[in-house]
């Protein structure tokens, strides 16, 4: 099965599978970050493009419009001769009109995928369960409970962060961009039969939290609700260089009645300055 790469939580992996293709969520490695050096281009965007270039067998790729930088990444991909690319328009409002628009976009995406796989989507094969929410391990009381936001936070970053936290802190809520689809509601089997595009659109657009959603307070409301059920001592926000959205969030988080926030601009590997700040943050939390 041809792999279909994507890096946005709003891409329904179920639809890719239903078209007989293999969804692959992009995860950058440290080397990808080293290649991300272009002034003004978000490192998450550039690592994605770098990672795609390394593919040696045929693949397809779904870009999204969730942010302007990723929207432009599709242009860069095409400008560099990239093939089998599709740009999925993800609305940032979440009302009925936006759902209808997104449903039509998913229909276009399905046609694109169907063209690649040579058959239309088998919607009756879609798993309607809620995404598996990774439960956090029971924590020793001595460890600071951390909520992680920002991102996307790739596995290499997450491992480095967890290593840095050592036995003084633990991530108990991972709401980084590449983890938030876990919070999506389950699909409704009846609604899926009536109109699979609308059901997928509604489930993804209206229940996956995003800082890009407007009005913006919806994200903070969601975060506050999460923090009521998962108590945390502090919030770590990891953002990539040249990402306006997460940079804009930092100030707003501090204006709200939330646990202390540590914002780290992290371009892949743990940096001395970032680690020092993390140390200070844990100390401040009393660990």
């Amino acid at each position: 099965m041809m792999p279909v790469w994507y890096n946005c939580p709003f891409v329904p992996a179920e639809l890719i599978t239903a078209c007989g293709l293999s969804p692959r969520r992009f995860d950058a490695d440290t080397a990808d970050f080293c290649a991300a050096q272009t002034e003004g281009i978000c490192f998450a965007v550039e690592t994605f493009l770098t990672g795609l270039k390394k593919q040696t067998s045929p693949y397809a790729v779904i870009f999204t419009t969730l942010c302007d930088q990723m929207r432009r990444a599709f242009d860069l991909y095409q400008a560099n001769g990239g093939k089998n690319g599709f740009l999925l328009n993800v609305p940032v409002t979440i009302g009925p009109d936006a759902v209808a628009l997104f449903a039509e976009e998913l229909r276009q995406m399905e046609q694109f995928l169907g063209h690649l796989s040579d058959h239309t989507a088998q919607f009756d094969t879609i798993n309607t369960d809620a995404p598996h929410l990774k439960s956090s391990k029971p924590q020793k009381n001595s460890r600071a409970k951390i909520a992680l936001i920002g991102g996307p936070v790739y596995a290499c970053q997450l491992a480095a962060l967890e290593h840095s936290l050592e036995n003084r802190g633990a991530i108990v809520l991972n709401a980084a961009e590449n983890a938030v689809e876990e919070f999506r509601r389950p699909l409704n089997p009846q609604a899926l039969k009536i109109d699979p595009y609308v059901e997928l659109a509604a489930a993804y657009l209206q229940t996956i939290p995003s800082i890009r959603t407007r009005p913006g307070h919806l994200f903070y409301q969601w975060l506050q609700t999460q923090l009521q059920t998962t108590a945390v001592d502090g919030i770590i926000l990891i953002r990539h260089p040249f990402c306006d959205h997460w940079r804009g969030v930092e100030y707003q988080l501090r204006q709200r009645p939330l646990p202390p926030v540590l914002a780290i601009e992290w371009n892949g590997s743990p940096q001395v300055a970032a680690l020092s700040r993390l140390e200070a943050f844990l100390e401040m939390l009393g660990r």
Partner: protein
């Protein structure tokens, strides 16, 4: 009084103004000497060179008195509607209501330039989390906080979706300051597949029909929002008439551009052409005066062309300029380096083209909205630029990056390569900060090199 076309400094304009007044110059209510604006804080004017025509005087006075005009509108009982980001579409809907007037708070991005950063808007924006990593539009947040640069609007309407990240974040910050925003969704303009219904748009773009349908619904909701504010329904004939008025003004504007960009000798300076183009977004809160000024400018330009007069040497390099400049002085600098403006793409071509003649005025506006160059791909925009280059006979392209803007780093590279590959024209990319004085040597060197290249290429 027969005066040769020329460019004057602010102090030279004092003398010129006295001469014009002595000769019986009649001015609208917002008239007066330009120097007063500098004395009131628009210090950057002291670094600029202006066209010496009465029409240009009216243009500058009109531009620099918008805040007074808005306050007068409010005093007259009109509602002030802040339209944000869409650059041209929603004001047409707003201005169709007799008791409403639209303006763009986005325009505050030029305030730090005009005030030579003495007004502190960037500092205020930074205090609210928007530092220099964001584009100069962050000044808008500062203006909402200190309330000194425009009256706080009675309502705000902002497009989101296929827009720049900087603006989306800045607008969200404005809302978090307690200014509710009516958000509407602008889809990314996608190239239609062969199997779906598509529409041709005014800027030469093509889009899927369902995106037009979506935008029509969005505009209908905006209309309902405005009707609720106004306390009365809007008759479609009012909107149709407004579209006809807008198309009339756009026609005058396009005549100005066509004449100026193709005349053997530049009849009007780049700076004035930039300002005229900016008026087209929302007519600087007074459509009738915009039309009057454009008529005056067009008449002046025609006279100059008929007299074979201009303000620059005939061999000035014909430059196509991409993106608006944060520092107005950059337009003067282009001319000092031996160039002239012959084509522009300032990110709102959809506000310049005729609005489609459609029975349903909201559908016509949906077509216009989806023609926004920023809503589509960089390739779409490159092709639009190429069409204009062919129309105006431009000899080289300057892509002016906006500091911090989310689209410039990738878009500039693509447009540059596309133009070089398809038109074989020289292209440079420069970044123009809000105050470019300290960057002047490098900007000048790059512009001069480009212009030298143009002139070398002319040799047989």
């Amino acid at each position: 009084m027969n005066i040769k076309p020329a460019q004057l400094t602010l102090s030279q304009w004092q003398e010129r103004y006295a001469q014009l007044k002595a000769a019986g110059l009649q001015e609208p209510a917002y008239g007066g000497p330009l120097l007063r604006h500098a004395n009131q804080g628009d210090k950057r004017l002291g670094c600029l060179k202006f066209d010496n025509s009465p029409a240009a005087l009216h243009l500058w006075n009109f531009l620099l008195t918008e805040e007074d005009r808005l306050r007068q509108h409010r005093a007259d009982g009109k509602l002030i509607i802040g339209t944000m980001k869409d650059l041209g579409t929603v004001p047409i809907l707003v201005d169709s209501f007799d008791d409403m007037v639209a303006f763009y708070p986005d325009g505050a991005w030029w305030t730090p330039c005009l005030k030579q950063m003495h007004e502190g808007l960037f500092e205020i924006a930074a205090q609210h989390g928007l530092d220099e990593s964001f584009c100069p539009v962050r000044a808008m947040v500062g203006a909402f906080v200190n309330g000194k640069h425009f009256p706080i609007p009675d309502a705000l309407i902002c497009s989101v979706g296929a827009t720049c990240d900087d603006f989306s974040v800045a607008a969200q910050r404005v809302e978090s300051l307690g200014h509710p925003i009516f958000w509407w969704e602008m889809p990314h303009r996608r190239t239609p597949s062969t199997t779906e219904s598509s529409v041709a748009l005014s800027c030469g773009f093509i889009a899927p029909q369902y995106q037009i349908d979506h935008l029509r619904r969005q505009l209908q909701q905006i209309q309902q929002f405005l009707e609720h504010k106004a306390g009365r329904a809007l008759h479609p004939d009012k909107l149709r008439q407004m579209i006809r008025n807008v198309n009339h003004i756009r026609r005058i504007f396009r005549d100005i551009q066509q004449l100026c960009f193709t005349a053997p000798v530049a009849p009007m300076g780049s700076l004035e052409l930039l300002i005229v183009e900016m008026l087209m977004i929302h007519f600087c809160s007074d459509m009738a005066q915009t039309e009057w000024i454009l008529d005056a400018l067009l008449s002046e330009i025609r006279t100059r062309i008929n007299n074979a007069e201009g303000i620059l040497p005939a061999d000035a390099a014909r430059i196509f300029w991409v993106n608006p400049v944060a520092d107005l002085y950059a337009m003067n600098l282009l001319e000092e380096c031996g160039g002239r403006l012959c084509g522009t793409e300032f990110l709102f071509a959809h506000a310049l083209e005729p609005i489609a003649d459609h029975d349903d005025p909201l559908t016509a506006l949906a077509h216009m909205a989806l023609s926004d160059p920023m809503a589509g791909s960089a390739f779409d925009r490159a092709e639009l630029i190429a069409r204009k280059i062919r129309q105006f006979g431009s000899e080289a392209v300057v892509i002016s990056r906006i500091p911090g803007a989310s689209h410039c780093a990738s878009e500039g590279r693509i447009i540059s390569r596309w133009i070089q590959d398809n038109l074989a024209l020289p292209v440079i990319e420069i970044e123009v900060p809000t105050l470019s004085d300290s960057y002047r040597p490098s900007l000048q060197t790059r512009l001069e090199a480009l212009i030298e290249t143009v002139k070398t290429r002319r040799k047989p």
